[in-house]
C-alpha cells in the first residue's frame, strides 16, 4: 500500500502546506505539475490520496477541478482551508526595476494582477507551479526573473522577498479538498458536510423546489453553482455543498433528491473543516 499524497506543485507549494497541515509534517508527497497529473497519480496508484484546490474568494469555484473529480469518479473525503499569501520572490540583490518577467501559476497571477499594474515593464507568464519557479530561479541563479510564491519557498530556495502579501484580497481563503479513488470509510457520526451534483431542466421553480427539500431536511447550503450542460440547451448541472448536524437528515435528503433530480450524484461526504 502506497501512502503518498499527490499534490499540485512541489515542496514549498501551497498544496504542500495543506498536505502537511492535514496529514502531518512528515507526509510523503508526489509532486504533480498539473491537476491532470495529480489525477493520474491517483489512478495509477502512485499515490493513495490527493490534495486539490477547489475554490477561492477571488475566482470562485475552480470548475475544471470539479469536472476532474466528476469524470474520474474521485471521492472527496475531507477539506482544508488556508489563507494564501502571495509574495514576490527574486534572486538576492535584485530590485523591482531589474525584473522583466514574473512566472507563476495562473491562479496566483490572477490574484496579484492589480499589484503588477504599477509595473507595466513586467511581463506575467503562466507556469505550472508557484514554488517550482522559485526553485528554478535558485538553481539557475536567474536575474531579471520573479516568482510569486510562499515565504516557505523563499526560505527553501534562498530568495529575497521584494513584496509581501501582493494579492488583491488580503484575506485570501482558499479551500482544498482531499480526494481519493475509493470511497471513504469515515464513521457516519463524523460526517457533517457533503458535496453533491444534480441536473435540472428549466421548469420554473425546479431549483427552488429542490432547495426547499434540502431546507426541510435541515441541510444548510454553503455553496451553489450552476453550469449549463454542454450540448444540451436549457439543462443545467448544479454543484451544491451542504452542511448538517445529523447524518440521517442528509440520508433522507439523498433519498428524496434521487427521485426529484436527474443524475443526482454524491461527490463526497466528510467532516466540515470550518468552525
Amino acid at each position: 500500500m502506497n501512502n503518498k499524497v499527490a499534490i499540485q506543485g512541489i515542496l514549498g507549494s501551497f498544496h504542500h502546506q495543506v498536505a502537511k497541515e492535514y496529514f502531518g509534517d512528515d507526509v510523503g508527497v508526489d509532486e504533480c505539475l498539473s491537476f491532470d497529473a495529480l489525477v493520474d497519480s491517483l489512478l495509477s496508484k502512485t499515490s493513495s490520496v490527493g490534495v486539490m484546490a477547489i475554490e477561492n474568494s477571488i475566482a470562485g469555484s475552480i470548475i475544471p477541478n470539479y469536472a476532474l473529480i466528476d469524470m474520474n469518479g474521485l471521492h472527496i473525503i475531507g477539506e482544508h482551508y488556508i489563507n494564501v499569501q502571495h509574495n514576490l520572490l527574486v534572486l538576492k540583490g535584485q530590485s523591482i526595476e531589474d525584473i522583466t518577467e514574473v512566472y507563476s501559476h495562473p491562479m496566483a497571477l490572477l490574484q496579484c494582477k492589480v499589484f503588477f499594474k504599477q509595473y507595466p515593464h513586467i511581463k506575467l507568464i503562466e507556469d505550472a507551479d508557484t514554488a517550482e519557479v522559485a526553485r528554478r530561479i535558485h538553481q539557475g541563479q536567474l536575474k531579471g526573473v520573479g516568482a510569486i510564491a510562499s515565504k516557505v519557498a523563499a526560505n527553501i530556495f534562498d530568495l529575497d522577498i521584494l513584496a509581501e502579501g501582493i494579492q488583491t484580497m488580503k484575506n485570501n481563503a482558499t479551500r482544498f479538498v482531499i480526494v481519493q479513488t475509493k470511497n471513504s470509510v469515515i464513521p457516519k457520526e463524523a460526517i457533517n458536510k457533503a458535496s453533491v451534483m444534480f441536473e435540472l431542466g428549466t421548469k420554473r421553480g425546479s431549483l427552488a423546489t429542490v432547495l426547499n427539500v434540502m431546507s426541510d431536511c435541515k441541510l444548510n447550503l454553503t455553496k451553489i453553482q450552476s453550469l449549463p450542460k454542454i450540448e444540451t440547451p436549457w439543462r443545467y448541472s448544479f454543484f451544491v455543498d451542504v452542511t448538517f448536524e445529523q447524518y440521517e437528515d442528509f440520508e433522507k435528503a439523498k433519498a428524496l433528491l434521487k427521485i426529484m433530480a436527474s443524475h443526482f450524484k454524491v461527490h463526497g461526504e466528510y467532516k466540515n473543516a470550518k468552525k
Copy 2:
C-alpha cells in the same frame, strides 16, 4: 459623443467578432489588452460601450469580470453568444515538431490544455490576447512559436492553421455581455432578462425562500453562483440571472427582493439573446 466599442483584444479577436455581430461590420473598436483596460476605456469615455466575456461552458462564470462590473458600477445592456473555436496558428511552413512555445489568453490555454498533453515539448505561456499573438508571429516572422486564435486571425495575419477546433469542448458556447457606464434606455417591452446580485446569511432555507419568490413572480433562473463574502464568514453573495415574459413580473420581484435580501442590486435589464 464617442461611439467606439471597447473590446478585450485586437482586431481578429473573439471580442471583435462579437462586436461586429452585435453592432455591425463597420463598428469602430478600442483595442484593450485586459479587462481592466476595457473598464478604463469606458470610465475615461474613450469608448461609450464595451464587450466583455462573462461565462463559458468550461470554466463557468468569469467571476473577476462580475467583480469589475460590480465595483465600477457598470450596467449590462445586452448579451451575445458565440461558439468559440480555437485553432493552432503558426508561421507558414512550420510543423508541430518545430513549435516549442504557444502563447494565448489564459482562458484559451485552459480550454485547449488536453490537446497539448500529447505534445509535452510545447510550453504554454499566458498572454494578453489571442489575436495579438498571431499578429506578433506575423510581424516578427517568428519560428518555433504558436498562437491559439480564430481562423479570422489566421487569415488576417497570413498564418498556417496546424490544427482546427483544438478546444476540449467542441460545442464551446461563450456568453458575452454588452456593458456601459450609464443605465440603458431599452423600452420595457423589449426587456426579458436581468442580472442581479444579493447577499444572504446562512439562515437555513434563506436562498430557497428567495428562489420561491422569484418562481412565484414567474421568473426563470438561467444561472446561479454563490461566492463567500470576503472578511465576512458565513455570508454569501449570489449572482443570479433570470428570464421572464412580462417586465411587470420582474418589477414585482425586485420590490420583494429589496426587502428580503440585503445589498440587492440589478446589474442589468436587457433582451435575452437565446432562442
